[in-house]
Subunit: 173 residues, 6 copies
């Protein structure tokens, strides 16, 4: 029987901290479904990249890291805005799974209330590896963000003009 | 530059005809995003399987067929019910792409109206390889459906009790 | 610990067959939540009455039948159109419960998949007591429907002009 | 005080029968809001044209007929699928009004239940002037539909390739 | 003719101030529908409890207070997010009514615009009896909240681990 | 071939700055569709007026200004909350167009990503002509807002009691 975990996040963008969680989870499950949450939103400061772009970042970033992609599913899921059904709604989009992978206390609780077990990964240097911080650096013109993501992710963000997008969409009339 | 195609379907279930389309498309594009449509529906006669279950069928079925999965994305997308925006909505969930892969005239048209080119695959023995027909066989107790899908798909459907599900959900009070 | 059941239906309108199910269920649980489904729909042949009108019918009909209303909740719930999350969605609107009360095989299955036990009531003369049949009688001008519902329900339907409504909304230009 | 009416329809396409209703209504109100309903749907046999295309048809068709457009609003409104709130929902999109303009008994009733008066126009040769019939003629290649709509409407439908669209979207794989 | 009122609130949680409004309203109407608003939301600081849990609180809290429950309906209603149709949308879920019961000026106005009369209850010591304040006390570990709600409500919140829930869902990674 | 532009805004309320943009655009296109955005919202401080009321303001305000209304469409559009499809969604509601008319960098970008050209109007004294500022003046009882809108708009706002509405809906219990 294949033991699966589900790791939800927004991945705006996907960084080394996320890679560490994936590695850690793959030591504990046979297969991992990475859920690209808030899939309907893009072109905002909090969610600049589309779900499709985030899928590319995750796949390429994991390839950079030498992760075995045949054990990974990457699955976009739009928001449902009803916490009480969230975990079951998520389950509809992914293969049958036993474990939620989460640190956020609300997410941990929602998985447990729906009958799933939870694997809580360690915090991988979160003051450093933070999507919020990366987006702030992009906006401020601080190129240091490039070292916080796998090289393929940085290249893909350049390819789609990601930094320019963030600056543009936050501009004023 | 990676050339990508998007192949939308419901895959209820994924069968050898779908495999043929995927192979055909992979001869024409570098990467293919297989979109699992009507992702929100399950447990109906037309859509018995969840999006997550269909993802497993596609990945395992393509593995049976020796398809290089590193060139394939499998992406669930809920219905939007507005034809005029459908193609752009789809594009939000998948990596940037050039080609739609479709035979259905409406789908072909919607891709073209949104500015995409379309690759029209040949019809692979559609009276034989048809999801509707497979579901009818399941309902009628005709085991012949097993030969219409890759062996891993048949095994997975057995594993989740798929045939029983179809019979149960179509039962009457 | 209070043992509760949930009995979903559309109750268009509430009839003696429904009363029998409620009685039967109240012999098995401490409290029963009657869910008025498809709460968003009214003024159609399949769903002529609003959720609020159906609530009145249920409360008055059960009072006619001498049912102890202090053991009953009547709860309207709009459709969600995702079978895989339906039971959890329902659970959000009602007090914590152990049993689903249902005969429909799909509904039975959805309760079980979500981890609930199911109480399957007997079929109470369904060719006679059927909401579909009652609406057809109303449309055809056959007053026999009055004997199929508790007297208060018939009076309430008269009070709101229910038969006229059904005829009007099914009329043609 | 300006007396306004609201005339809802789908206008797939706008034909001489609709023009007659508009003229008739403008003899009874100062201003008329023509509501283009089911605005979210297009590219289906029942609703081939987008709301925007229908707006053009209405404006040009009324100009052909010499109707004073300064007394007319043309307002697209997506479906809400809750009959009990439909009239108030409609009212949100249009200027304050006193009269609904409708023949369909359900629509007449929904206007009245929401507190509006209703103007019921005569039936203008409905076996001849019918959008359903016009779409069937388009599909069948019967050019007679051109005489059932104002000349500008026929020209606009040609301009956007409307007949081809209807044939294409109803085609089979 | 039964005269009914509708009293909308979120009741997160139901407290003695709410009980006072219910009593006050029941002196003015025959029956009162208590609408549990924002029914779709739970597990947030503003809305920690599900609609179903709030229904239990209301029923038990009113029983504590000796209110005649046979004159009360408790009805969950999800948000609609369109103020202009809100009152009619609400009306769909509850028995026919004459009075809105509200103090909030927006709510008062929306009832009146939809043609309902409004009963404005006195403010019952709102700096003391406030759901926002109760939730803040729960979060801060101040047990004083127990005196602000009927004893059955406090017991039910304990039974479902309500205080722990509020602390958990507001926790950080 | 008719060259059209689309000018989206919320117009809460329509003021002289908006009139200037319309005039400026009509020097560059044959026809202009003015999109009344966030059409579903009203009775809030940010969006006090319904879409229908805003349509009246726009039509009367442009008439005050001597603008040729036969070249203008006024089209309400509810929010879609998915930036990646917004421009195509908008296109569904309006006649076929070539130009977006916008200054906001996000809106400019969304038009361009969807394949439209953009006309960027000059900023017409925006610290003076600002809907936000006008609403603040209304709330504060500063009658100076009347000079910032065309006279017909001020009269219409008076007619519907707009200032009172803004004060009421922002009131506290």
């Amino acid at each position: 029987m294949v033991v699966r975990g589900v790791y939800p996040g927004r991945f705006q963008p996907f960084h080394w901290g996320h890679v560490s969680v994936v590695r850690w989870a793959l030591e504990r499950v046979d297969e991992l479904a990475i859920v690209v949450g808030t899939a309907q939103e893009s072109h905002t400061l909090a969610n600049p990249f589309t779900a499709g772009e985030r899928i590319v970042m995750i796949v390429r970033g994991l390839a950079d890291a030498g992760v075995d992609l045949s054990r990974v599913y990457v699955v976009p899921v739009p928001d449902i805005l009803m916490n009480a059904v969230w975990a079951r709604y998520l389950a509809m989009f992914v293969p049958p799974f036993r474990y939620g992978v989460a640190r956020n206390p609300l997410v941990v609780r929602l998985f447990r209330e729906a009958g799933y077990e939870v694997l809580v990964p360690p915090a991988y240097n979160r003051e450093l590896y933070s999507s919020t911080r990366i987006r702030a650096m992009m906006l401020a013109g601080d190129g240091g963000w490039r070292e916080l993501v796998p090289p393929s992710v940085a290249r893909f963000i350049d390819e789609i003009g990601g930094v320019e997008r963030i600056r543009e969409i936050t501009g004023r009339d």
